[in-house]
């Protein structure tokens, strides 16, 4: 049982939906983003997605593209993102950390070495946007063997025929991408999302979390109510981009978490 599995078991007991937040590691610098990260659990975040910056984030909209640029400019690397996770783990041994990013920095480091280091840093799961099931041998299978969850994205283009393939080696949770598009673009609509989540849940027992296009407490509540939880990324990153003090960022996160938990 990973920290992710334990978290969902605990939430199920409370009858509560999960609130997942995304921040870019090292945005705008490592110290600030570590401060935000450390405050997330108290703000009601159940699972932390920690972005690993990459120069060419093909699936991200401008908000997260710019966050990645700020992080890289401040000297952020994959190693420093792992350092951030390890630093966080010193005071928090229960909140799951999921690294989210693109394959090249991991491939460049060497998959075996990366998995050992990620595990040692207290990372629990991976979301790697450019690794579909067709490339499972690259990282997904080795990650599962190393005891890390490999969380797959399911999308509106994942039809019934393809769904089993997407779910096959997924663990921890399924991340349903509510819209076709990049992060931070269009708004998710609970009316469209509900049936899609039901379709996925009919095919798997693992929790289904919905992200992309969730940006307000009301939206978080509406989406969480039709799924096992929801993810907010760009809306939080925008606050960091605007240079808001960490306390204000965390206060905003709390409103989102409260929304999701009402769902």
């Amino acid at each position: 049982m990973t920290r992710i599995d334990a978290k969902f078991a605990a939430l199920a007991e409370k009858g509560q939906k999960a609130f997942v937040s995304y921040i870019m590691g090292g945005d705008p610098d490592m110290a600030t983003s570590l401060e935000v990260m450390k405050g997330l659990p108290a703000a009601g975040v159940d699972i932390i997605e920690l972005g690993v910056p990459f120069t060419d984030p093909m699936a991200d909209g401008p908000t997260i593209q710019l966050a990645g640029q700020r992080a890289l400019e401040s000297g952020m690397t994959l190693q420093k993102t792992l350092d951030m996770a390890a630093e966080f783990r010193k005071d928090d041994d229960t909140t799951p950390i999921v690294l989210m990013g693109y394959y090249n920095p991991i491939y460049n480091r060497g998959v075996e070495k990366f998995l050992v280091d990620a595990k040692a840093a207290g990372v629990d799961g991976l979301i790697v946007v450019d690794l579909p099931p067709e490339e499972d041998d690259e990282l997904c299978i080795p990650a599962q063997k190393a005891g890390l969850n490999f969380i797959r994205l399911a999308t509106p283009t994942t039809d019934d025929k393809r769904l089993p393939k997407v779910l096959q080696n997924t663990s921890g949770f399924v991340y349903y991408v509510s819209v076709t598009g990049v992060t931070g673009a269009t708004e998710a609509q609970a009316a469209n999302v509900g049936p899609e989540v039901a379709r996925i849940k009919a095919a798997t027992d693992i929790p289904v979390i919905v992200g992309f296009g969730v940006n307000t407490p009301e939206k978080a509540e509406a989406i969480a109510s039709v799924a096992d939880g929801t993810v907010v990324g760009s809306a939080i990153v925008s606050k960091i981009a605007a240079g808001e003090p960490v306390s204000d960022v965390l206060a905003f996160v709390k409103t989102l978490a409260d929304g999701a938990h009402r769902g």
Binding site: D60, Y102, D130, T157, V177, T180
Partner: protein
């Protein structure tokens, strides 16, 4: 070398889209079903005679194929060694090899019922070719182009707009081809149902590298036949410039199993292949990584972040290379060298002077390598170089380099 089916260099990629360890399908889940659809549609078209009949008709009557194989006599004399032939793909409609591939992809898009075509472009040649074919077939065309390239290839931007395309300048990154490709992929992931992504080079996720190669292979097939007619034999050396590698693989592929033929790909050496990475020589100065849907040689830093690279030639200004070239490099079937901006510009002038051909800066890189090796080769050594584009689009860049003020209507050279 291997001429039998089981031991050929021409059978790739495998069913996972791999050439050895290179290639693959490194895309987000949203795009994966689209790529599988495309692959299925292409597999059907490939064995459909009516598809190729339509291609052949358009190649002949719209593009002007076959392009001549021209014995460059003056250039040969000037260099004083090997006999140099130019495959004249710069004479194609729209001025480069790009249209060979665009026609194939647009015919596929029509078969798939897609009405909105997106493309990325560097030099603007692929964008112009795509805008052209879209105009002909009444399809909506959107071209992503790096903001830096919009500036240095202004004539092509105007041509695309005349042809009815929407040109979207991309200002992320350094504003070159890599960034244009990122934004094209972002568009595709957003507009999944009606959009066809027409990739301009032999890179990207499977099936693009194989499909683009197949469409561009008309270059090598023609060259082989034409050389047979002209000289009664195979060339000894074939040479082409490499951005993503489509004109090069188009020339090379039909010759891969002809073991007497030396194959040389020429990358953009920019200001020199050094630690500052002010070049675009992915094979000479990069290492394997994953970008834009495929594993291939890339310019990257210690953290796996992609470097921008640099070249005077917008069409070669890309930090990656098609996966089949990475494989040919690794197994040693082809050699890859780098040519600097300065060497390419010298070749530009040499070509104008000796042959009365104003070449694009991209093939000037190949020509510069020809100029390097030809003098030391025997007179019966035959070189075939792909003259894959004409230079109209580059005259502003070259004028600037030569210190010629194009805004001076009196036509005087600036000091």
């Amino acid at each position: 070398m291997a001429n039998d089916l089981f031991n050929s260099f021409m059978n790739g990629p495998d069913e996972k889209g791999r050439f050895g360890d290179f290639g693959g399908r490194f895309v987000s889940e949203t795009l994966m079903p689209l790529i599988l659809d495309l692959e299925a549609e292409y597999e059907k078209a490939k064995t459909d005679d009516s598809f190729w009949a339509e291609m052949q008709y358009l190649w002949t009557h719209y593009v002007g194929r076959p392009s001549p194989l021209y014995f460059a006599e003056s250039l040969t004399e000037r260099l004083g060694g090997a006999k140099i032939y130019l495959k004249r793909d710069e004479l194609n409609h729209t001025g480069a090899h790009k249209i060979n591939n665009v026609l194939g992809q647009i015919l596929l898009a029509r078969r798939m019922g897609k009405k909105r075509i997106i493309a990325e472009t560097g030099a603007g040649q692929h964008g112009v070719a795509t805008a052209t074919v879209c105009a002909k077939f009444g399809l909506k065309c959107i071209v992503y182009m790096g903001a830096h390239d919009v500036q240095r290839q202004a004539p092509n931007v105007f041509r695309m707009r005349l042809l009815g395309a929407e040109v979207i300048p991309v200002s992320s990154g350094r504003g070159t081809l890599k960034d244009a490709m990122n934004d094209a992929l972002r568009d595709w992931v957003t507009n999944v149902s009606d959009t066809f992504y027409c990739i301009g080079t032999a890179a990207g996720p499977h099936p693009y590298p194989a499909m683009v190669r197949d469409f561009q292979s008309i270059i090598g097939k023609e060259a082989k036949e034409q050389m047979q007619e002209a000289e009664g034999r195979l060339p000894d050396t074939i040479i082409a410039a490499i951005g993503g590698g489509s004109n090069a693989i188009g020339l090379f592929h039909p010759f891969l199993d002809d073991d007497s033929v030396r194959i040389i790909g020429v990358e953009a050496g920019g200001k020199g292949v050094n630690d500052d990475m002010e070049h675009c020589a992915s094979l000479t100065g990069g290492r394997p990584g994953v970008l834009h849907g495929n594993r291939t040689f890339l310019l990257q830093d210690d953290d796996g972040q992609i470097l921008d690279g640099y070249s005077i030639s917008a069409g070669l200004d890309y930090p990656g290379i098609g996966p089949e070239h990475s494989w040919l490099h690794e197994i040693g079937r082809a050699e890859y060298v780098a040519i600097t901006d300065k060497e390419a510009l010298d070749a530009f002038q040499l070509c104008c002077e000796t042959e009365g051909i104003i070449p694009a800066l991209e093939p000037c890189h190949a020509l510069a390598h020809v100029a390097k090796i030809a003098p030391d080769l025997p007179k019966d050594h035959i070189i075939c170089m792909n003259m894959c584009g004409r230079g109209d689009k580059d005259i502003y860049t070259v004028a600037k380099y030569l210190g010629f003020d194009m805004s001076d209507t009196e036509g005087r050279a600036a000091d």
